[in-house]
């Protein structure tokens, strides 16, 4: 066996770029009231459709311009980040807890437990996810908690399938058999021997899922099914920007860039974390 490469433990540009953007966006969201240059809800029709700062006609203090109601775009993006992150974290963690637990049980115990859980997953995944989300929100009613709940209800299957496959592979390893011979209980083996070996995958999926949750939330708010229309959301801003694309392209473009960067960062960050969590790859 060759030496574990210690160099990769240091600066992985992928990890730092992705992590940096996420940290920046997260801090901005947390301290939104302190950072945002304007009130995100304040309308001023005298200031409608101001361009971003480097174009003619820009006003100081409105860095990324304003929308058709004269609301500051940057402030709206920062406040929209709050909702995006709340949804990303709670929905992904909820989906992860449910999906990983069931996946671990199905993969490790096999037999009937596996058959039942896998069939449920198959049925679940037969529904188109976005349609399912819209349906769920329509039933649960709009609002932050129903959006979170809807995403968790839809996406736990993603964790379940991957973790089931991983746990199944690990359970066939000799070290699991060795633990059986030593006299450990089944649940003890599942938690102490198998679980640590699937944690890297759980971490990677969790980060990926946060990105997906951001997209789903944006889709729901784009079709006006997320939370109350007053609160700025990235999807909501995109929907407004689409209407005024010919007069004020920036209202569409900046939230899109923010959304893409965030989702991309989540998935890259997850991959990089997986490499660091895995003792063999590390």
């Amino acid at each position: 066996m060759d030496k574990p490469s210690t160099s990769r433990r240091g600066l992985s540009p992928r990890l730092w770029l992705a992590g940096g953007w996420l940290l920046l966006a997260l801090l901005a969201a947390i301290f939104a009231p302190l950072i945002a240059p304007q009130d995100p809800l304040a309308q001023d029709l005298m200031l409608e459709r101001l361009p971003p700062f480097w174009l003619d006609g820009a006003e100081p203090g409105y860095w990324l311009g304003t929308d058709s109601l004269g609301r500051d775009l940057l402030s709206r993006l920062i406040f929209g980040g709050r909702i995006a992150f709340i949804v990303a974290f709670s929905a992904a963690i909820a989906a992860c807890l449910v999906g990983s637990t069931l996946g671990l049980i199905a993969g490790y115990f096999g037999g009937w437990a596996d058959r039942i859980i896998s069939r449920i997953v198959d049925v679940w995944m037969a529904f188109p996810p976005v349609l399912f989300a819209i349906l769920l929100v329509a039933v649960l009613g709009t609002g932050l908690s129903s959006v979170i709940l809807a995403i968790a209800i839809i996406d736990w299957t993603r964790f379940c399938r991957v973790i089931r496959a991983e746990a199944m592979g690990q359970s066939r390893m000799d070290y699991v058999e060795n633990a059986r011979i030593a006299g450990y209980g089944r649940i003890g083996i599942m938690l102490r021997e198998v679980l640590p070996n699937v944690v890297p995958s759980i971490v990677a999926l969790l980060s990926l899922e946060m990105g997906i949750a951001v997209i789903v939330e944006a889709i729901l708010s784009f079709v006006n099914l997320s939370i109350s229309t007053d609160d700025p959301t990235w999807g909501g801003i995109i929907a407004e920007g689409r209407l005024s694309i010919h007069q004020a392209w920036w209202v569409l473009v900046f939230p899109l860039i923010t959304l893409i960067l965030t989702v991309l960062s989540f998935s890259q960050f997850g991959e990089a974390l997986k490499t660091r969590f895995d003792p063999v790859l590390r």
């Binding site: 066996m1 030496k3 574990p4 037999g111 390893m173 000799d174 070290y175 058999e177 060795n178 059986r180 011979i181 030593a182 006299g183 450990y184 021997e193 640590p196 070996n197 944690v199 895995d278 003792p279 063999v280």
Partner: protein, 292 residues
């Protein structure tokens, strides 16, 4: 003197009714090394797994008794059986790559068992593990205990597994082809280590192998298996001096000789295999009659 392991008439079947173990009987005395030889698929490993209680779920034991130090494993409750097997037996596995948990450091993996199953204190377990690592000639126990399995070579990992197997002072160790996955040069060292530790600790070993050379070196008694049936059993010296069964003779003839590297490899004679097949069919018929 009571036997360490006593298997009588053990039969196990697959879901399709085919017997994978055919009325196997064998015993291991305390401190004795019993070799199980046979070609792949002969059921050597299956016997080891049956003793350790880790048969695949598709294989079902339909007949026979297994006594571990006089305790009938078949009559114990599952939990009591697990505890007994955990306390009195250990496994030296075939593949040192997958037999250690890749995400845990060696130290906790080795001590955990002593602490959790045998109820030792952490200090005592740690001391014991270090002593065993010394016995398997690992010179830098601190580094090894801190390592993850992938940071050690195959030979090192097998040493760790041998140390782990002996650490809990089991009465019986099942060694499942412990040298097969290793380099030829390392094989010899590992074999010597197992033999030395076995002598020192007086542990009985059920040594599964397909290598007659290994059998001659390490064991006192041999059972030759074919298709899940013991075709011959004898003291090792007797077996090598005067093999009785034609299959045993054929196996010995098929062993490559290093003294004549240009001699072509001989397969087991067709006539011998035909004889074996007839023997097994007859045995199955005789077995089915009383069992319907």
């Amino acid at each position: 003197m009571s036997t360490c392991l006593d298997i009588t008439n053990l039969s196990a079947v697959l879901p399709n009714g085919e017997r994978v173990l055919r009325s196997v009987s064998l015993s291991v005395l305390p401190g004795e090394v019993r070799a199980l030889v046979g070609e792949s698929g002969a059921g050597k490993t299956m016997i080891g797994k049956a003793v350790l209680g880790v048969l695949p779920s598709s294989v079902r034991i339909v007949e026979g008794d297994m006594l571990l130090e006089g305790e009938d494993l078949g009559k114990l409750q599952p939990k009591a059986r697990r505890t007994l097997i955990g306390a009195r037996t250990a496994l030296i596995p075939q593949d040192p790559l997958t037999a250690l948990n890749p995400s845990r450091r060696i130290g906790p993996q080795m001590t955990d068992r002593l602490v959790r199953i045998l109820g030792w204190t952490v200090e005592k377990a740690d001391q014991r593990v270090r002593q065993l690592l010394d016995e398997v000639q690992i010179r830098d126990p601190d580094r090894v205990l801190r390592s993850y399995p992938h940071e050690l070579s195959g030979g090192m990992r097998q040493r760790v597994l041998i140390a782990a197997a002996f650490a809990a002072e089991p009465r019986l160790i099942v060694a499942d082809e412990p040298t097969t996955a290793l380099d030829v040069t390392v094989q010899k060292q590992i074999l010597r280590l197992i033999a030395a530790l076995q002598r020192e600790h007086g542990t009985a070993i059920l040594f599964v192998t397909h290598d007659l050379g290994v059998v001659a070196k390490i064991s006192q008694k041999v059972s030759v298996l074919y298709a899940g049936k013991v075709v011959e059993e004898a003291e090792t010296a007797t077996l090598f001096a005067a093999p009785q069964h034609p299959y045993t003779r054929a196996l010995m003839a098929a062993t490559p000789r290093y003294t004549d590297p240009f001699a072509s490899l001989k397969p087991v004679d067709e006539a011998v295999l035909a004889g074996l097949a007839a023997e097994i069919t007859a045995a199955d018929k005789a077995w089915r009659r009383p069992h319907g």
